[in-house]
Symmetry: D2
Subunit: 338 residues, 4 copies
């Protein structure tokens, strides 16, 4: 951390800061400048908490050099992590995994038909929501454990590992018993209790970026999980909230190559939720692959016009088969950048 003193800071204020740095066991390094003094904080192994300093008189600004995460950083783990979900391997530079299935499990038949269709077309993981967070209290909220059972059954039937969202700690045990990967939704990205529990559940985790989470916060949230001993974390970019409202969210694809430099954890992209429109899913899914994403997650429904949730952004089986053909052509052209 760099502590920038005010132009008008007194020598006594500077010395108080220096003592505070020493008291925390760090080494202060004064850097006299033309207009002000700055004090480098050296010797820290981890993120320096700014609160012991921010309140001292004469300080203008605290500038962090160390990030609020460590285990998820490339600095401490230079080689790519590979997360194994059932038979699927997810990692930077590996063949991208395609995760597909309904937004919400609506019936045994619906998820079975979808599972068969996405398996045939080449998906690697089956997705489906049993519990659904909904903005308004009157919307369909999912089938709950019954939906979970249907999803698990459909996955077994077609031989695909399954991923599903855990919303509450008290759901964790039952969900972890059948799911191959636990999804943490965007609204729960900073539900720290849930993150910790999921970190102890012994299953791979897919963590979605919060709607207004910075990349630093996103990585710090992943750190919560990894700190519990679970390094099998997949990050998922799913769109951020900006001033632009013509589309549901702004899919931030530039973070994919950026995160590749910063973290060893794989990053996948969910274009369905971000854009909210089926016709944009195929081009954006291909773009995700082209920028190096380790996978894409898309919503597929046997009959989107009758879906209870997110129909307008769901592909039908024919649309998904078309997506898979285009993704294969993209991959065959060797397009993802190294």
């Amino acid at each position: 951390m760099l502590i920038v003193m005010e132009h008008s800071a007194t020598q006594q204020q500077i010395e108080t800061v220096i003592r505070a740095v020493k008291r925390l066991g760090f080494a202060p390094q004064p850097i006299p400048g033309q207009n002000r003094v700055a004090i480098g904080v050296l010797g820290n192994q981890a993120y320096v908490d700014e609160e012991p300093f921010r309140d001292l008189p004469g300080i203008q600004e605290l500038i962090h050099v160390t990030k609020p995460y460590k285990l998820v950083s490339r600095d401490f783990h230079p080689s790519d992590s590979v997360v194994t979900v059932g038979g699927a391997r997810v990692g930077w530079g590996l063949e991208p995994v395609i995760i597909a299935g309904p937004c919400t499990v609506e019936s045994r038949e619906q998820v079975r038909v979808t599972a068969q269709a996405v398996k045939t077309a080449g998906a690697g993981i089956l997705r489906g929501g049993a519990f659904k967070p909904r903005t308004g209290p009157h919307s369909f909220q999912g089938l709950g454990y019954e939906g979970l059972d249907y999803l698990a059954e459909a996955g077994r039937e077609v031989g695909l590992p399954i991923i599903t969202e855990v919303m509450r700690i008290d759901q964790l045990e039952r969900v972890a018993a059948v799911a191959d990967c636990l999804q943490i939704g965007a609204r729960n990205m900073q539900n720290f209790d849930l993150l910790k529990e999921v970190g102890r559940a012994g299953k791979p985790v897919m963590l979605k970026r919060g709607m207004s989470a910075t990349l630093e916060e996103f990585l710090a949230a992943a750190e919560y999980i990894v700190l519990e001993g679970n390094a099998n974390v997949i990050l998922c970019e799913r769109g951020i909230r900006t001033f632009e409202r013509a589309l549901r969210n702004t899919l931030d694809l530039g973070v994919v190559p950026y995160l590749r430099q910063v973290t060893h954890l794989p990053v996948i992209v969910d274009p369905s939720h971000a854009l909210g429109r089926r016709d944009l899913v195929i081009p954006m899914a291909k773009a995700a692959i082209v920028v190096g994403a380790s996978g894409v997650m898309v919503e597929v429904h046997p009959n989107p016009a009758e879906a209870l949730c997110d129909g307008p952004q769901s592909l039908d089986p024919a649309g998904f088969a078309q997506l898979m053909r285009e993704l294969r052509a993209t991959l065959a052209a060797g397009i993802p950048s190294a």
Copy 2:
């Protein structure tokens, strides 16, 4: 809802939409225009779910007229609600309530001293966090139930009702047993399971606006609580995330007079969290009162320089007494707008 058809929509597409409207029990009202047809959806008592429509061919846009909330709206409850927290009455046009106390309960002594100071200076409710959500996993996370006990004891001692945050459903019973008002934090504004449970707990609730929540989402979240039969909800503006990062958040004071027109629920303002700097708390707290807020919530610590959490934004007892003097002068001048 208004369904706007595409310029090129066929007569058959228009008829399909009309049939879909009828199937849901609503009355379709076609509105032929110069360039396109629109179809009004009449007869709905509540928010119309857009999903049965969005996927039909030939539709350009769905425009909601009804909002995704009803019980919290002035339309259905024109008179102001008054929420009673212990002896404090919170409502539009009433004397503003001042909620004060430490960000986090750190010790029996710390909260007792603070409680005494804020009571003496004129606070109406004592606040204090027992469980703290923290962005990074290594920060101090609160004393838990021990902290809750200290807070309750301090409140009893000085005769102030207390408010504290509930983060998880499994904490609810014990917290509701001692707290006079349950706080839902910004990160949990859309934790719908928690909202529902809190709605059934029989205690007043203070709901903080999510960092990137629209007012429509904020009110829809409050609707979740009210729907469970609990109309004692206080809304809290605490700053939103914008591109500007010089201050921690952007305190959105304009929403106070706006919400006064839209909802009967009272709105209070938390300037401490929004701005993250003590020196801005007093002016912004006064501004909150001036725009008509039903209360303000501020952080007070006996010795901010040693606070384990959010010290830089905490007032010390002398600063809080100064705030109270300035707020009283503001109120004496009869300044809040009708």
Copy 3:
């Protein structure tokens, strides 16, 4: 437009609104609802100005159905426009044009060497800034007309059309005399006087999206140019400002397939400015092509480490040749979605 009356609006207020609609020559269409009345405004040929209405008592909300642009919309011009810049043809579905060159013209030699390199590698248009807007007043502001001459000379020498930014109306005549395409920068997207003058200059125009411009504002700005009789407008997505600051801007690629549905004008993408980092330019440029962009614009400098402007985001000639190879592979795979 749809005029939504308040729940409590009186019959007299409703009639006043109806008269106001008639006075403007439009046809009012009352739509009685369960909780409120809405009044459709029919018969308008263009965007309805909301100001005669917004101030009438009893109105809750004005909802626009018609957009604030018309000539640039697909509704009124369903087929793709093709903009010809020198020998390059730019349009939806055509082979993407690659625009390359230095951020700023620094010397005759620098632009000549760059022009030769980008021509050899396959660029279709040469870019270079003569006048540079800079956030701080002390930064290098460009060579002015001398730079323009060097750019024109370099373009002629290698046989490439040139594009350069016009910042002020008084520069327009001299710039239009030598440039094949006039660039309007993001900061000037709503400099309406400049837009009108550029619309009359008889040259193709490339209009960059403002840093915080909605798509509706972007298209309305293009409408200013087209209204002057100049339909040769290319739109350029260059990143928007969001809360995320790890990268300079958030490149909003989802707007490319969205705009393809909304407008007949071609859309190109500038990944260099949006991301501010060379290593992200190649993947994002390929992604732009994959989502259907009609071109990409990238910065190339013979020696980025010595560039006076935006060196860190500039490719060197070898990097640009690599980009071209990868883009050709992308195109050969037939990847852009229809």
Copy 4:
């Protein structure tokens, strides 16, 4: 500036950076850390341009300590500036100036009537637009120089100084000949050529914050004007663009007390444009005064329902008189914080 090297930076890379710092005449100060080396750049008198560094290999991040402005900073000019506009004195801690008048001059009569009303009620400066930037090309764009003459005449008649917007350099001479203060609109905040010319015009300037401008950019824009020798600059907060669209913009009042610490230039607030609704103007204007603003600017129209521009946010003369009464009560209570 602090140059943070990558974890894996080589000794040679570090030395290259050190040489680059020396070459620019600055003093490099290596700060060895646990995980990486940082290099302080000392001896700079002004903002350090990052471009000579950003492109060197092995650099992870460049962190600015010096701001991109100097003359407008409190560091270099600790005492408050007072800007004199006609007889009105504008500065931190002085009695706030009230600037009032129509959004747009529509006729000699309209501006004369308004001028009389706002003068009577106690305004200190008369405002009115002669040239209006409008998002859509078909809206009323102002009366031009004719409007300017009417405004000047009305100001003389009632004895109020006038302020009006300059949109183009070629308007500057004629506008500066009659206006007492030149307004630069939000869309032109980074129109650097215009800023420079306005800086040379010898008249006070009111600079509006751009819709998505950071405070750093805002102050750097003011620096452009002051650098030309004109220190008579008033800053104006007028709302920023955020994800929240229920109100037109988010009025960012927290910046007022913050800017008071950072700059000696006075800051005023324009609640009319930010909120777009008359009923919110009075409370927010009072809040602006309470947080210490040096003035407020509001729109007044003799008959808002017939205004050609921004009627819904304009006060009528009675509403303005009410605002003035409330502001006087606010001031009499001695409320603005020191």
